[in-house]
Every structure is written in C-alpha cells, then in structure tokens.
Symmetry: D2
Subunit: 330 residues, 4 copies
C-alpha cells in the first residue's frame, strides 16, 4: 500500500527501503532535499513540501513522521494542516505518551486519526525488521496492517512460546496493537526503561569480574578472568543469554578492556519518563531509577553531592580527601 | 571417558543421563539408594558407598559432586578421603568461591586436584545442555574436556559473534575454563547476580505497564495494555529480547494476571555473595543490590523499618497510617 | 501588622494564634463557620466570605492561604478575584513549585503579588515556631517580614554557625527569602525529599539492629540489642543526632517493638516532585528515590513485579514459592 | 579510677586528657615515645613497653586500646600477654564486631575480659564528650562505669525524651551497655551506616537545589537559590535539623560553592559491614547500600560498567559518546 514518510534520517530512510523491497509505494519528504533525492533514486516518489506530499497521496492518506523528538510537535501540526478528514498521522519517533494523548485528542475533532508507533531495533532494523508497538483506533491500525507486517521482523526462527497455538498472532509476527493512542509510545517507553536496567545489570556484573584481579585484594583472593570468553559462554544455555549479551560479547572480542570507550553514557527521554510514570503510579522502580542515575553520574566529573559529603567529613572528623582517586582506597 | 557422580538429584541425574547418551561411563552414588538404582537401570554403574565408588574408578579418578550446598563441605571431605594423589574432585554445585579457594589449597598437599564448575541452565539442561563455568588447573581441566564438551550445549544455531573466526573456541561450544580454582563459581556467582538484576528490570517494567490502567490515575491518562502480547512482540527484534523474556511471555500466556503466584521470592547465596564481592572491591552495584533487597522485602509482610517511618511520621506530623493498603494513596 | 488567613485547619489556626499572641491582627475565613467562630473567640476578626474578608482588610492587603493542596488552585483564584492591584496572596500550603511559577505569572498582569511559603515544623509549630522558606519579590517579602519574624522560631538557643558574625540574618531567625516566586516551595520540596532519605536511613539501621537477634542467624552471631537505649545514647554527642532521632527515641520509649504501627507509610507530593526535579536536572538521587519507593512498597501486600519474579523462577528453575513468609529464608 | 591507654593518636590522647581533667589516673603507651612524653607532661604516667605498662597498673587492670584498625589484632594479643586473670581489655577502635566475638571467646579461657566500645564524636569529643556504645559482661562494664561516665557527654542541655522519668539512665548521660561483647561495635557499625545514609540524603538534596539554576533548564523554570541561607534556616524548627546539617551550614558559610573540595569520598569499614550485616539478615537496606556505592563511585574517573554501557549503546544503536561531560545532556 501507499505510505508517506516524513523524515529521512537513518531510521526513516531504512524503513522506506524495507517497505519498497516488499512492494509498497512510498512518497517521501525531508527538510534536506538530498535525502529525498537519494530515496527517489531507489524508487520512492519525492515531495518538495508537505503540501506537495499530500497532493501525491491517495485518500485515506497515511503519513508516517520519523523526525527527531524536538521537531515532532511542529511536524505533526504541519502535516495535519495538509491532511483532511479520514487521513491519519503516524508518529514513529520517540514521543512522550502524554503528548500522544494530547495530539490525538486535538486531531479528533478534525477527523484526522493519530497513531503512535514505538519502534525497537536500532541500526539493525533494515535487516532484522523493527519491533513495533502501536497505539491508536482499531480500525485505523487494521487498515495500516500491511505496512506494519512488512516493517516487523516476522515470525522468523524464534521458537514459539509454549501455550500459543493456531495461526500466529500479530505480536508473534513482530507488531502489536497495544491499545488506544499513546499506548504504543507508553510501551516503548517502558521497553527502554527495562533496557536501561538490563544494561546496567550486565555492566555491574562485568565490572565486578574485572575487579576480581584488583591489586587491592588479598593475593589469595585475586582471580584473573577472561571477560570475552565469559560473555561468549553465557550466550549458550545460560539464564542470562540475550541480545544485549550478544552485543557485549562482540564488543569484548574487539576490545577486551573496552579502552576506546570513555564511559560517558547518554540517556534519552524514555528512561526518565519511565521512572516518572512509576512515581505517578506509586510503583517501586528501584532498578530502573538506579540505572538512570548511573548514567547521570557518568557524565559528571564530580557531583556537588560528593563535595557536600567531603565537606561534612572534614567538619566532623577532620578527614581530608585522598589526593588521588582509587577504587579500593578507604 | 569415565566419571563418578555423587548426588543424584534432578541436576546430577540429568547430567549422568546426558553423559551416558553420548557414550561416557558413569559410576554413581547417592545417600538415597533408590536414586542409584534408577540410574543403574539406565546404564550407570552403581556404588553403595564412597569407598565402593572409588574402587570402581580407574585412576586418575574424576569425581563430580552435585549435592545441596550445605552438604558440599562434608561430601568433599568424604570423597577426598577415598581418593589418591593424581585424582580430582569436581564441585558442580553452588559453592561460595572463597570455599573453593580454601578447599583447593587444602587438597593441594595431598595431590588431589580441585575443579569448580558453575552451571546454568536449570531444568532445561538435559535438553539444552548446561552452560559451564570452570575453575582449576589447566592440565586437569583439559583432561576433563570430553565431559565438559558433552554437558555443554555445543555451538547450536546461535549466530557466531562478529569478530570471531577460525575453529570455535570452547566458550562457543558452551564451556569455559575461567581461571584457577574458584574462578568457575565466581563467574557463576556474578552470573546469578546479573540474573537478579535482569529479572528485576523486567519485573518493574511489567509492573508499571500493569498499573497504567490504575483507577487512581486521571481517566484521560489510563491505558489498558495487553501484557502477554507485549512480552510476545518484544521477543522479535527488540533490544530487550532474551531467554528470561521468553519465559515471561510463556508465563503470561498461561496466566495474564499471574494470579497463581503470591510473590514471595526466594534468593540463593549467589546474589548475596555478588553484592558482597562488589563491596569488597569497592565497585558500585546499585542495581544488583536493589534486586536482592526487593527479594528480601517480598518475603516480609512489613519491615520494622516501615514501622519506624510510621512512628516518626506520627511524632512530627500527627500523621496516622491509612487503614487499608493502596498503591496510589498518599 | 494585619494578615488574612484563609483555611483554619490545625496549621492555619495555630499560625493565627501565634500571630495574635505577638500583637498582629488577623482576619480569618474558613469554609467551616465553626472554625471561624473558634478563632473569633480567641480575638480574630471573622469573615463570612472571601468578599467579606477582603472588605475587612486595609490595602495593601495580604491574604495567607493555608488549605489542603487540592483546594489551593480554586482558593487562589477566588481570593485573587476579591483583591486589587498592590495586594498580595501568600500560599502557605504544599504547592508544586511549577504551579507557583504559573500562578505568579498569571497574577502579574493584574498587579497582584504572589508569595509562596514552605513551612516545616508540623504539629510542633505553635510552640517551636515554623521554619519558613519564602519565594517572591523582594519588596513584598520585606513588607511581610513582621509576619514571618513572628511565625519563625527565632534565634533560640541553637549555637551560632561558626563563620557567621554581626547581626543575625533572617535565616538565623528562622525564615529565608529563597528567591523569586516558586523558590519557597522548591526549597520546601527538597526539604521533604531529604526528610524521606533521613527517615529511611534511620529506619534501615534500626531494622538491622532489630534483626541482630534473629533466630535465623548462627547462635554465636546473635546479639540482643536495646533499641530505646540506643536511640537515646545517640542523642548525645553522636554524629547522627537530629530531631528525627529525638522523635524515634520517644516512640521507642513508648513502644520498644513499635507494635502498634502496621507500617503502611504514606507519601506526599513533595517526595515525588523532588525525584522528578532530580530527573529533570539529570542529578543522581539514588537515596531520595529509594526512600520514596520504600514507601510505595510499604502500601502493597505484594507487587506485580514480585509475581513476575516468581513466574520466571518457576519457568527456568522449577522453583516454587515458599509457603510462608520469612526474612531469613532463601 | 585508673586506666591504661594504648595508642595516643588524636582520639586516644584526647580521651586521656578528658579523663585526667576529671580526676582519673592514666598510664599511657604508644609506639611513638614522643606521644607518650607529651601526655606525661600533662600529668599521665608513661610506659616504655606493654610489660612496663602492665606493671604500673593495679589489678584488676583495665587497658583501653585506641589504635588504627589494622593494628588492633596484634595489639590485643600483645596486651593480653601482659595481663592476668581478672583484668580486662577495652577495644575503643573501629573493630569489626565479628572480630570482637572471636576475641572475647579466645580470651574467655584465660580469664581476661573483653569489652568493645564504639565511639562517636570525632574531633569534637574532647569538648563535647564521646557518645559510647559498649559491649561486654555486665559486671565488667559496671566496674568501668566511672570511666565511661567521664568520657561521655553527660546529660547536657538536651531536652529529655518525653516518656522518660526518674533518675536519668546511663544512655541519657551518653553511654550505653548495649549487650554482650561485640554489641558495642555492632551498634557503632550501624550508627556509621546510618550516618552515610543521612549524609547522602542531604548531599543529594543540596545537589538538586544547586542545579535549580542550571542553564540546561527552560528559563521560566530556573531558580537561583541561596544554599548557605537554606542550610541555616533549616537549623531552626525544621524536620531535617541535625548536627550534620549544622556542619553543612558551617561549610557553606565558608565556601558556598564548596569549591575547595574535589569530591573524592572515602569510606571506612563500618559502612561496608552494615550492608553486609543487612544481607546476612535478609534486611532490605536500599538507602544504606546506595550511600556506600555513591562513595565508591566518587573515587573513580569512570567505571568499567559505564564503558560496558557505552559499548552496548554503540553496538545496538550506533550511538557514540558525547565529546564532553555535561549533566543535562542526553
């Protein structure tokens, strides 16, 4: 079927490629004309403006927005202005679900449907397919199913979950209609919150194993451990096997000390929003919050909090700070 | 090759089965004679005592101990007493690595080698194979390789880690010589510590999604989410795919509200030891510790700590406790 | 000077009493006429409506609002409607600082000043005075100083901070102009966030000491500790002495096992907002967040998260849940 | 009464001074003869060796050991060798309570009593007195009471805990017999664990207030807050008033930005042991553990864990690290 794609960065462009490979027709637009030209060369129909884009679509139109979060609001407005009753806007970016709730409500009186799609798969999506978490009205999501079917990874070689039988449901083919508008990004948000927690769990474990050889430990206690081998062996038959572990194994093969990484770790909105959702719902989320804070901490040389601690220690105990850092020093 | 197995519980018995299926010879012993008989019926050689067991082995003897942690110490002693110089003891249970360090040092003057093997794979090991983390002297581990090779899952259908080439190393076949005695259980310990963290990350995420429909939230904010579908869709192409997620998906298909679980969560020594190792090494382990504490908390109706909080609140603010529990109440 | 008080609950009524004792004139209003009558009997001027209240004040009017958070918004609107240019509204409740920012901006064009005052002191304020954290324009805060001076505890017998000299500043007399509108509640918010952390630190410590006598510990390890005595001795000369400790000592004298508390611990908005502010600013706040989550957890019998853990454990290891709770069980 | 003091560092020397001021007789020893001479000049009896010290004491002898933790074991042994049945050793340092349990048991057959005393008060003890937490046999602790009475702060001007009446108990005078040997250091250990938690709570709160003026926040949201004033005002009437807050107020008066502290924060054994005790007892101690980990983190430029996170992020999302640190960056 026909789909408009607005925003031709890595994600948007690769989605267009995956769709065209499977026979869909794409009309594409980006603020950067060269990005449009590149996909036109691969078979897409180019548009020179949002109005031009709208004119090249057959109603009911479907426009997928794949732009950086800070441009989503203005792009949704701009696209809505060139669409009509019965058309729909799909936000495939990383919007905050409360923005989806608001936008869907605002577009409702104009008869424009709003669908939010959280996607996971990163740079691997073109090849592996994108895991899609979708929010919106049932009839609209159903109409768009051929698009989702193509973007999703499909059933693949993953063993079926025991207890499931009959025709595989959409979730088994890699896309899920999670609920009303906002649900897709809510589920994607929690997905990323979980992702932070999983990553931090592995990270702490490898840190402990790396420190097992610390000179500060008593000699009889020290152990030299082969981290790349450990990541590798855990990939087979262990309880902690996962895709994130696969990636860790890859990184450790390339650089066992991970020396080329400094360790400044960024975070995106989803991790923050997940903890905020937990707070709003009074759900304990110790691990998700701790994972987020570890990232905040990684980006500072020292926190003001640590200086407050040093100041108190000096005042009550006359303690002065060590001259040099050291993990094992007390 | 020939192996003695002491301890024929689920794990030990299944290991014997897997070994025999692949042509190894097993001499088996258990304090429960019926457990011995059962495996004799499947082709193993039974022993009526540790001395009998030793007499049925050809030197250099290899005796694998697979007993509950509290019996490990006495069993190692008992087995060592019937073995001789050049023989080896393999502890396949969940020993504390510091006990391994001590036992290996104690057996050293007697010429008996000590090998510790951490195993992961749970009830799935007979079928999938056991992920093996091994500590001990290189020559002994090498001599025992045919055993490890058989118990391990093998290379299977798991895609090779990019960057690895040539003949697959042992880790790719599912077993790893991690380092000197103690290393196997150290790595297994951290493995379980990570496992707790991963589990808690998923658990918190699903808790937040379940609460998205909470009556305490403003109506425009509530979302009804399909948890079994979400677990399923994440299995395909998402960053959080893992074996633990596969199991969660299975549990949610069977019982979407998980109503048959009360939520008392036990912990084993490994999770505790991992946090203690982190403390010993001055490694921050916020997520692993929080995961452990969540389990401690799950087994109490109320902590004394919470009563202290209630008492303080009453004293400074005249606050009384709510009459009934409630997640969203303040 | 003259002050209007709207909201005559425990806090508002006691503030009126403290002000009148020191010669200020108060015009009072509450939705409950009996609350008005009670204070009229003590010397206040009663008002039968907000309009009546406004008519009994001499410009520039100052109206202090001390109502439950959920009524603050409508009360501010109602009061603003009966005031005029040059008057001011003081919100002494527990408003969210972002609401202060919004309200101050909304009242600005009408020439009505908005002052937000965070207060700490709980039920002890009438006697000890209220610690006041104030946000608003300098000239307005200065004009209201006589009110703040009276409500605040004053310099008291607390030793002066080394490094301070000369005439005691307002903060030493118990009130502080923190910054522009919103600042008072922001500081009060963080104050409460810290309070949660302090409380949880004591609570965990006493929990550990109570468990020192646990039957699950090896006999040679068990210690019977006198908790009321410990709280008492720490009050004198120890690093952890504080007012919260004083209150804990009092509670433990009355009931050493704190048996009359169930341990359901409520939380108010401030603790939540503090963690959200930390997230907004990318500041690690592990302790403040953990303290909040401990309260969330205290109000649930079991979390869904814990059921997810139980389900995973059953699936990978065949582990079943313990039949009964128990702190030390594994 | 007569007391021997072994170890004349700041703490030991000041204790001798405080004792002599109140009429006690002290025999003193230190490996550094100059430390001995200094106190002899102030009225103490000097000893040139442990044997000399023992010969100058009247049975039943009481020898207080106040040496750095790493010398405690050997000093206890050395002192025990010059004492006799009926004498007692007091360990006033920061020993691990399990070492006390072991030492008391080892000295028992020799008839030498072992008393452990945890002390809090830091550099302020000479002036304010030391808060003493004592473990040992009742008769021995009773015999030593005059010493404890003098070292402790006494009842002072601290208001009596409501509910207490009659003659003030020892705890109200600043010392407590907590239980059998080991109890004193156990209580001191938990005291320090709590101390870490309290400090971290304040530290995080001040960090959040400092970031309220962050350039990364939207302009309408920024607040400039006066941290020294805030610490000061909280000292009067607020729920968070404490001695640690007093010290923070002092540090902030001297240096509002705390610029002279780098923020490397050391930890001593007690904080670690407290978390280990919590783990041993299956008590959730989220705040105490998080406080400890924050100190570990403060002493490293980057953790290996953070590099693992960066590596994963690169592998799944092509994310590269920011070039420069920044608290608010994502």
């Amino acid at each position: 079927m026909q789909l408009a794609m607005i925003g031709l960065g890595r994600m948007g462009a690769n989605m267009v490629r995956r769709l065209m490979r499977h026979g869909h027709t794409c009309v594409v637009y980006d603020v950067n004309p060269q990005a449009v030209e590149a996909l036109v060369a691969e078979g897409a129909t180019g548009a020179s403006s949002l109005a031009d884009l709208a004119s090249k679509l057959t109603p009911p139109r479907a426009a997928w927005i794949m732009v950086p979060e800070k441009f989503t609001e203005s792009t949704v407005s701009g696209v809505a202005d060139v669409l009509s009753k019965g058309d729909c806007i799909i936000d495939g970016g990383n919007s905050y679900f409360k923005d989806d709730l608001r936008r869907a409500a605002a577009l409702e009186p104009r008869g424009i449907d709003y669908v939010d799609v959280g996607t996971s798969g990163g740079v691997w999506g073109l090849e592996r397919g994108y895991c899609l978490m979708i929010g919106g009205k049932t009839e609209v999501v159903t109409r768009l199913s051929p698009i989702f079917e193509t973007l999703a990874p499909g059933i693949g070689e993953i063993p079926r979950t025991p207890g499931r039988s009959g025709e595989p449901i959409a979730a088994e083919r890699g896309f899920l209609h999670c609920g009303r508008a906002g649900s897709g990004h809510f589920v994607k948000m929690v997905h990323n919150g979980i992702e932070y927690g999983l990553m931090q769990a592995y990270a702490e474990g490898f840190d402990i194993m790396r420190h097992a050889a610390d000179a500060s430990l008593p000699e009889g206690r020290r152990l030299e451990l082969d981290l790349p081998g450990i990541a590798e062996v855990w990939r087979r038959g262990s309880v902690v096997s996962s895709w994130l572990l696969d990636l860790t194994a890859q990184a450790l093969v390339e650089d066992p000390a991970l020396a080329r990484y400094s360790g400044f770790v960024q975070d995106s909105g989803e991790g923050r929003w997940t903890v905020e959702a937990a707070i709003e719902q009074a759900v304990p989320a110790d691990v998700l919050a701790a994972s987020l804070f570890a990232r905040f901490r990684s980006r500072q040389e020292h926190t003001f909090a640590e200086k407050v601690l040093s100041a108190m220690r000096e005042k009550f105990g006359g303690h002065t700070e060590p001259k040099a850092p050291g993990g094992g020093a007390r």
